[in-house]
Symmetry: C2
Subunit: 315 residues, 2 copies
């Protein structure tokens, strides 16, 4: 038998990515397809199975020990059940581990996607070598994974790490979680667009005005070109992210905070205000001692993290 | 030789309390004196030594194995050094463990007072039997101790758990930590007085008006008598404590949150608004599953917690 490997899936609202990964974190084969958007969990399972079979065919020399899946939602790790998946509602209350084990005939494990990204960056990326780290994923929303003493912090119900729902403005923008003023409403890709829309009347010369299809990427491009509206949007993004991280630093005193996700592409535009805010607000000296770094693994953080958890499950 | 016991000190800004405690958490003898307020750490050490000798004389049948001290400041546990003690500046950078071991001839251990209170409530009090708990101490300031998987969360520099410095109002009241809008500025005894002063012009009929020596206890008494200014102060205290706890619940997903400290005496006046705020704001379902309870040990939480840590240090 060949070397032992795992199949690691990162199931996003848009794409399903899968890779065959060895115990060094080397990606031996990878594939991607669209995530089925239907009402039925079986279609999603089928897509994962197809990806897995494609990986198997292309890794015939290796021994596949586990399939692991990072999913965008809350997960009951012990029972292998997805509790809620706001962007893939077909998976609410779905027993994904049983379904995959049944279809593929290998052990399966499940993890929340933000936790998986934190483990990935800790295994092969920006927080390598640190035992206390936090990973924040700035995407459509704001996700978080907390690693304490080398282990994911899960909390009583497996729902810890919801960093995107730290309140930074108590009477602020309504959040999809039911609260108001969550940092997700100020420092995510969707927040960038919302804030730009809200402020555009104050910036009559902005090239972003009256764009009904505005994207976070367009705001970023405008910011790089010096557009004042875009720069103010990223300043606010950085300020509120700094407020949330200051609270988090005071509570958790991490060694390192990794910032990743698609909206971290705007790094150069939001990071100065974020760092200044943390310097002013985090508790005495902690802001100097804790490092804040950019994620190194990009889109691969999730599949690498879930692969690592798959290997851990064999131990 | 008699039963093994420990001496546990709780060094506050005002009082130094000490007790001889056995491994069941039974207090065999206790004493209290004023904390020396001078410039010199030696005076404080001397007061602790006097208290210890008094305990020794009254517990001659027992074998004292360790002296432990809970201190109001940040602590380097490993080296036994107090890093900063804002209310007892004589102790900044002071090697308390070495001083006590030298004077008393027994092993000494040190802990932050809020962490000690969390351990005390977890050992003999309101969070007994839970492995993931948070203890919040509402006093002159707002202290916090976080226990995860049965262990105090210390963080990279031993400074984790600063729950009082979660930001709840980004452009709010200046905090002694250098930030703005920390929950300590809204939900502590000193905050109760400040907010009452700020709002009194709006309540011409309040009995609290024009009281230059106003105390939190007077605001509490007025609230119990139905004074509208006092009730509004406690409503704000509860709201902002609820905002902070919602963020904390989303991030840590604890099994139980214990609220203690002197200002928790106002429980009946601030808890309804606090609970309503958490219900509205904490992430789906977590607010229902996590319990929020009142501390059971009162002023003894700190000495019991540091006693427990003293016994743990023998293991």
């Amino acid at each position: 038998m060949g070397k032992e490997i795992v199949l690691a899936a990162d199931l996003g609202g848009t794409n399903l990515r899968m890779a065959a990964i060895d115990c060094q974190g080397e990606i031996l084969y990878r594939t991607r397809r669209e995530t089925p958007r239907g009402e039925c969990a079986d279609e999603i399972v089928e897509a994962i199975v197809e990806s897995a079979n494609e990986c198997r065919e292309n890794c015939a020399d290796f021994q596949i020990k586990v399939i692991s899946a990072a999913v965008p939602g809350t997960v009951n790790i012990k029972d292998g059940v997805i509790i809620t998946a706001p962007n893939l509602r077909a998976l609410n209350d779905f027993g994904m581990v049983a379904a995959l084990e049944n279809e593929l005939g290998v052990k399966a494990v499940l993890e929340n996607d933000a936790n998986a990204a934190a483990v990935g960056e800790n295994w092969c990326g920006a927080s390598r070598g640190f035992k206390d780290s936090i990973c924040i994923t700035l995407g459509t929303g704001v996700g978080g994974g907390i690693i304490i003493d080398g282990k994911i912090l899960r909390g009583a119900d497996g729902m810890a790490g919801e960093i995107g729902h730290i309140c930074v403005e108590p009477f602020g923008a309504a959040c999809r979680c039911g609260s108001r003023g969550c940092v997700e409403q100020y420092s995510s890709a969707s927040a960038i667009v919302r804030i730009a829309k809200e402020l555009e009347a104050q910036y009559p010369k902005s090239i972003l005005k009256n764009n009904t299809q505005l994207t976070a990427y367009q705001v970023f491009q405008a910011g790089k070109d010096g557009d004042k509206l875009a720069l103010e949007v990223f300043r606010q993004m950085g300020f509120y992210l700094g407020v949330a991280l200051s609270s988090l630093i005071n509570v958790l005193n991490p060694q390192v905070i990794v910032i990743g996700g698609g909206a971290s592409a705007g790094w150069e535009l939001f990071i100065p205000q974020m760092q200044e805010t943390i310097r002013q607000r985090a508790f005495g000296g902690l802001s100097e001692r804790g490092k804040i770094v950019r994620g190194e693994l990009g889109d691969d953080a999730g599949i690498l993290g879930t692969a690592r958890l798959a290997f851990d499950s064999l131990a």
